[in-house]
Amino acid sequence: MKAIESFSVSESFGLKDLNLDEIENINGGAEASVGYCVNISGGNTGILSGAVVGPTYPIGPGPVIISPTFPTDGPIVISGPSDGSSGGSSGGGSGGSSGK
């Protein structure tokens, strides 16, 4: 089988999949919402494009679902419990492009 194009469901929405273990911290703690910086392991940062919603905080086992916003900039965090199962996915998208 040859992949002519191969995207994960999340990638196809312009996102970056991250595991929980890859997120070092979310500024703002339990109050973190859109626009807060996320430090990602490896020295990268991103901007949360949705509110952090999850069953427990500080982040522990259990799905952390980031609600998406549109349009988006930077990676949208998609994470799940540290056992590897996936949480929610979220979307970017294109702006309207009415002509002039």
């Binding site: 191969s6 995207f7 196809s12 998406p68 916003t69 549109f70 702006g95 002509g99």
Partner: protein, 438 residues
């Protein structure tokens, strides 16, 4: 594991077996020996005969789902609606003026143009509105008229918005490009404009005929001259500017597109994006209805651009999925006209029956415009869209066009992604393009 129904598996003449998955726009060539197992997988919902690698790949791309189709659909719908109702970001399209230095033949704003510039009172009210919303993300689109006709106002606005220290502030502009001098080019770069969209409709003769400058003047020369400046500045200073050149196509200029595209690509060494867009029929102005291309002709055009000229556009193969079709489908998205009137869609500027209110006096939405755009236009509620292979790359098409079609009771403007006209042919052509290394 469940096999998604949002896949297309077929045998093509040149490429053998091909499989496309609408959940992620993943696309595979399947060798003949494997094809019967894929066919069986689809027919029986049983993927057990596939290798572990293939199952892993298909799970990643959504060919195989850990949930059933309805659950996956509802999850996507949930995410889309979360986004529509999210109040943590605000998207504003601001028309600092409705004045324009062009008089384009197909302009839908023709009878809405006036020369006033947004007042300080309106600007103050917008800034206060942004403050009250306390958002973490602000996305701004400069529009008009021709927004650069009110350049000092844009500068003023931006300084005030920067003072608000919103963590995530982005801006974009839609301009005819004729007033984009070096000062503005530098400003767009220094202030990280995400896109600068400029329209150019043809060679010099055609552009000047379709998009003439008021009072005479060579609009083609003005635009190309400014694009040259932007190109030169970026090359000399090792900068980037995200200029997107849009070419509006109808019956009159369709034949010119390939040569214009290639000329621009060569002239600017691929620095700027170039794409075709199809002139729409705006019933209320209806000055250009007979020149608009049909859906089938538009789809053929996209296909032939690739087949005959090797020009790839996003309409040939949807690489990116969407959570919704456009920002107007979010609650927290507004267009603000020069006099402070508020709308959902920038095509509705100055239309009284599409007004939600005014920034000075508040939103009243007596015409139920917000529910119309946010809910009624939703592809998730449309029976045809729900089953479509390309649901997530199309998301129901332009909301405004959908309402126009419903009111007129016929398809005034097409809604669907062009690939739906003949998906197998589009996919085969994309395969050919990829095999050629494009």
């Amino acid at each position: 594991m469940n096999v998604s129904k949002r896949i297309l598996f077929f045998k093509s003449k040149k490429a053998g077996h091909l499989l496309f998955c609408g959940n992620s726009n993943s696309f595979y060539q399947i060798e003949d020996e494997l094809a019967p197992k894929i066919q069986k997988m689809i027919e029986t919902n049983d993927s057990s005969e596939l290798t572990e690698d293939i199952i892993k790949e298909f799970t990643k791309s959504g060919v195989l789902l850990n949930e059933n189709e309805d659950e996956f659909f509802n999850r996507m719908k949930y995410i889309s609606y979360l986004s529509r109702f999210d109040n943590s970001s605000l998207t504003l399209t601001i028309a600092p003026t409705m004045a324009c230095n062009f008089c384009c033949s197909y302009c839908y704003e023709g009878n809405r143009v006036h020369n006033s510039v947004m007042s300080d009172e309106i600007m103050d009210a917008i800034i206060n509105y942004i403050k009250i919303k306390e958002v973490k993300s602000l996305h701004l689109y400069w529009y008009g008229g021709e927004p650069l006709c009110a350049w000092p106002k844009i500068l003023q606005f931006n300084e005030r918005i920067k003072e608000l220290n919103i963590p995530n502030y982005t801006q974009r502009i839609v301009t005819n490009g004729s007033l984009m001098d070096e000062e503005k080019i530098k400003y767009f770069i220094d202030n990280d404009f995400k896109t600068v969209q400029i329209t150019l409709d043809g060679n010099e003769e055609v552009q000047n005929k379709r998009r003439p400058m008021k009072g005479g003047g060579n609009s083609y020369a003005a635009i190309i001259g400014n694009l040259d400046k932007a190109y030169k500045y970026c090359k000399e200073n090792n900068k980037t500017i995200n200029i997107v050149i849009r070419i509006n196509i109808d019956q009159d200029n369709i034949a010119l597109y390939p040569s214009l595209h290639k000329m621009l690509e060569e002239r600017y060494e691929g620095m700027f994006s170039i794409y075709p867009s199809f002139v729409k029929n705006y019933l209320e102005s209806d000055c250009h209805a007979n020149n608009c291309l049909t859906f089938e002709k538009s789809a053929d055009f996209i296909l032939n651009l690739s087949k005959k000229y090797g020009i790839y556009t996003l309409s040939l193969f949807p690489k990116q999925n969407l959570i919704m079709n456009c920002p107007a489908q979010k609650v927290n998205t507004y267009v603000i006209g020069t006099n402070g009137d508020m709308y959902k869609c920038w095509d509705d500027i100055c239309m009284e029956d599409r007004k939600l209110g005014n920034i000075l006096t508040g939103i009243k939405d007596t015409h139920n415009i917000n529910p119309l755009f946010v809910l009624k236009s939703s592809a998730f509620e449309n029976e045809k869209c729900k089953k479509c292979l390309f649901l997530f790359s199309c998301m129901g098409g332009c909301a405004r066009s959908r309402f126009t079609n419903e009111e007129a009771k016929y398809e005034v403007n097409p809604l669907c992604h062009y690939i739906t006209n003949n998906p197998q042919e589009f996919l085969e052509e994309y395969y050919e393009l990829k095999m050629k290394g494009n």
